[in-house]
Symmetry: D3
Subunit: 246 residues, 6 copies
């Protein structure tokens, strides 16, 4: 299977979804990470182009930890909007990578770019599946199963699925550590250590489901619902990943 | 695995959950059906004891279709309450049958007995798991995974899991047909045919997830959440069925 | 048509529903008011039996203002519960009065007796419609259309229907004034004037829908939903008041 | 009365609202249908301009079935946004047709164009009522009563009004059949028959309210609420359609 | 402390928040009012530029009543959108005024400009706090505490905080009276008197919390939550107003 | 002020509320803890009376840590119900201790006894305030401000108030450690360490509001709302703790 996670900034996907991506990789699946902005506001000072370059390097280093394919769409940090051009750009990513499973930010997460990323991800699906919408690659034949990631610090989230990442937490922290510039900044301005932060969130999600660490997700309430089959314990249908939206 | 479904009246479980129970049976699991009341208001006229006897026969016939074990608790129809005695009675069923998966009515379903059945099912779990609560059988070692069934006619329901019952719909209708007295009564007073009703609901749930027929469920939002693991496509953990509540 | 409103204490129905009952009376319909408790905690001092007698007189005086039939069930104030006996008592009221429309308290109103009254009202319907549940009167043939009244001071309410009571507000205040003991008590302990209170609430509900005064309601989300037909402007079906629950 | 339904694509209005429009026509009211996009992604292959032309013809044929006035705004399929130009264009439709009742898509329906159509419909009302916003026609004097249509396959919908379309279902299917290109496409790619689909949804909404077929709606929660009056059975006020927003 | 309230049109802030601003002024704090549009649709006839000029004068007069600093951003009435330019403009206001507390419209209020103002207010915070986003003023060091105002006529609102404005209601009405053109218009077209309207709403919010008049608010559910400390009676921590978003 | 926290079992209050109680004590207020059941199911084996005695000793030891007054009502563990007798018993506690602030469990917490405790706490208020309901103590003159505690592991909770317990966490763990029998049992059956559990939850609530540790609360949505005044930063009204419900 192909598994794609999309975030607004370099490191967004890692914070809320890396453990699950690691598990998919270990299970032999292909993993992609798509970052919609260049993250060029992500520093206390300096030059925007330099920041963007630093963050791109960090994103590559993180993706390499699990051999994930990286898509960088380069929108301006702080100004991500659901627009024709961002929809088309992400639709082309969907067509190139052809995910079976797609992880997108929570539509109510705290940062406006995160909420825009959530909208772009969902609103591009129908374009990616429409043959008459021409991009560089052919239309996808089927919509991926879509899940929203958790919110930062669990504020307002209402997950329905928990993934045990007890054995993946160390590697998740390695991926986060690759985003060194962000951790330096947060430690300096907020006194927050990134890795400690992500660990606390994973531990709490683990408390909820009885594991040492977990990540949490929920499916958006949109037609068509792709999850008939294997979703109850012991019933082993293949998920119905063959339905085309319109 | 042991799979138990609990309803207030004979036929409640069949209407909303039979297709899923059939699938569990076909997958080789043990299935139990627990009926909390005797259904003795379920007729336009006649004698209550006679009605109860008719409905018990129908319940047995229906359970036999899939070789399900039947538990009849005999509470008075229309007066089911979450009380010490109903909790203890159902806790003993949980201890005897020791389910891994438990299906209970939606807490907001339309009939007061259904709502009471939902409460009894959930409120008995902790008693069944408490060794110092003595009943005929030893305490259960782990809580089952719990799911709420759909509501009648989908009114107010918000499911999260869909089970494809396309191949089980015929057998589901056979089970419903066993409750002949109820179908006769509904046809007479409401002009409603039971089997037609259940078919329409299954077809619509099928529309939602792209199958010919489906049943829908959701998990209650209670600690501990047992579903870490196999809940995302392609991640094949065993569900964590080993946690003791209290 | 027969229109029944049920409340926990003498004056509950008047506060939130009197304007609508007045309009029904003026349109030529029969109106009933059912009070589930005797209201015997409703005084700062004195004897409970005396208080109950005072409140009964006040309830009768209020009902006489619009010629409503009064049902007093006499449960103890502060201790109203949804139980077999309260269900059976209210089911008999339903069978005697045979309402086409039933108004019940909001299930989340602030007073525990109000919430119990809401539950009793809804949970008795199925008993009233079951021929084998014997009471003094024959089973009802059809369920009434049910609406929840507003909450006190609009706290937490989410109404869907607004009734213009601009021309009925004066009479509503007359009915409230009949409950003189309550107004005396509230003025003394809380500095609140009853009639002023109800006026402010009616004025605000009026603001919402563009009238001088209004009362607000919502329908519970239960199967079967009886409102096909006349619910959109200009479509004049008769409401489907002929469906029997089960 | 004038009754207007607005959708994103040719056929959207028919799927969720045609039965109700048919009933309005039969009751002697004027009906309008406004389609915001040209639907030019609605085919597996071919030329966008050709597709758009085919769909326009189909939309006309469908509208002719009930003698509805058709407004085609020609936005690009898949890229409908709530913007100054789409608001102004729809405000002019509101001013030309001057609806008393307006049906708009659910704000959470599954297709991004549907959600945009819902936003455009609501956000244009205030412009249409503002005299200083100049378009070809004079400002409307009053806001229409607004209702959201159902969602596709009922996913996530929470309707409050049900309209009996038992006698209109045949004509509804005729209107849907006029959109032949879409049915051909869906049958081919998804194995779904349009007419069968709409029938199942109407049957299920009928189950909920005790009719053979129904369509379902809900009112948005916005000030001012126009529905004082005739909204309870037997109270026959005219709906308050005379309030101007701002 | 610096306290900033933002609204879409001149008078929006006054209707829902003036009493609270008055109380802040009386407690010695600085108050700012930011109006995002020029309100140039706010008249039944005349010239847009003239209307805008009238409304600016009225806004100044109202602000002068309490010595509030006024920010006028001049977006076109009826067409307020969350866009790069409106975000940057409001971010600069945040940097100039440097509020400790920010009041923004409810995200679901009835007017599209109000909903856009709510989005702009929240989506600009992160820009205002990002040093690399250059505007005329330096980045803010900490995010303000944010509260949503009430909705008009309480439709759909779910407040969590009530502010007693019994002693400020007179001054609030003075501020509203400064917006004479709007009151004239509303009285003419809707028969609504502004001051009466605001009084009824304040009286009802007062009923809810036991005061003669009140305004109501709620905090958005976004990370980071700044309100540790003084939020329970008798615990007198200073609110944690020192956290920087990212 | 007098601050009362009520829980179903010995240790319930400590897990979710101890840090806040410690802060109240340090601020010089009186603190009470009311435990509704005897907790006699709280062991893997042994004699119920012995278990109850052990837990009473542990509860006393914990309360002594902060000099809290302890009320033990002795209902049977696993069978707590909202009934006349439990309401009267808790109303007498309210009258004896006369709290200004009352903490009760979340109405949707995971354990049926917790949900019952939540109901009993709220449903007793009106009795406690009714002079004609005779118990050993005179009626309370005013209702306390009421807050719901957090849920276990944050499942389903939606808090509105956060209390910084960074400096109180150590003492909270001391109180929890007093309940040694429970920690022994949980470590044995679930491999869970109590103190570690509570620490993780406090750390996560701290993440949300930018402190090292926190506890979270929300107010029930009931009339009358007592919180006018001091609820916004910098507005220093005394909370309106003088309103009598009924």
């Amino acid at each position: 299977m192909n598994v794609l996670a999309v975030g607004a900034h370099p490191d967004d996907v890692e914070i809320l979804c890396a453990g699950t991506l690691i598990r998919y990789r270990r299970a032999g699946h292909s993993v992609g990470i798509c970052v919609l902005t260049n993250g060029d506001l992500g520093a206390p000072d300096g030059d925007k182009a330099t920041i963007a370059a630093v963050r791109e390097r960090e994103a590559r280093r993180s993706a390499e930890v699990i051999g994930a394919r990286l898509f960088l769409l380069g929108e301006p940090d702080g100004f991500l909007f659901d627009s024709p051009s961002t929809r088309i750009a992400f639709a082309e990513v969907l067509r190139e990578f052809r995910p079976d499973v797609l992880f997108a930010p929570d539509p109510n997460d705290y940062h406006p770019d995160h909420r825009a990323a959530s909208a772009i991800a969902l609103n591009s699906l129908v374009l990616a599946a429409s043959p008459l919408q021409r991009t560089g690659s052919p239309a996808i034949d089927a919509l991926p199963a879509v899940y929203h990631m958790d919110t930062l610090a669990l504020v307002g989230a209402a997950p329905q699925r928990w993934v045990d990442i007890s054995d993946a937490l160390g590697t998740k922290l390695d991926m986060l550590a690759a985003h060194r510039s962000q951790n330096d900044w947060l430690r300096c301005t907020d006194g927050v250590d990134y890795l400690d932060y992500a660990t606390k969130q994973a531990r709490l999600r683990g408390l909820q489901c009885g594991t040492a660490a977990a990540e949490a997700f929920r499916a958006p309430e949109f037609f068509p619902i792709h999850r008939a089959g294997s979703t109850l314990p012991g019933l082993d249908d293949q998920p119905g990943l063959d339905h085309q939206g319109d």
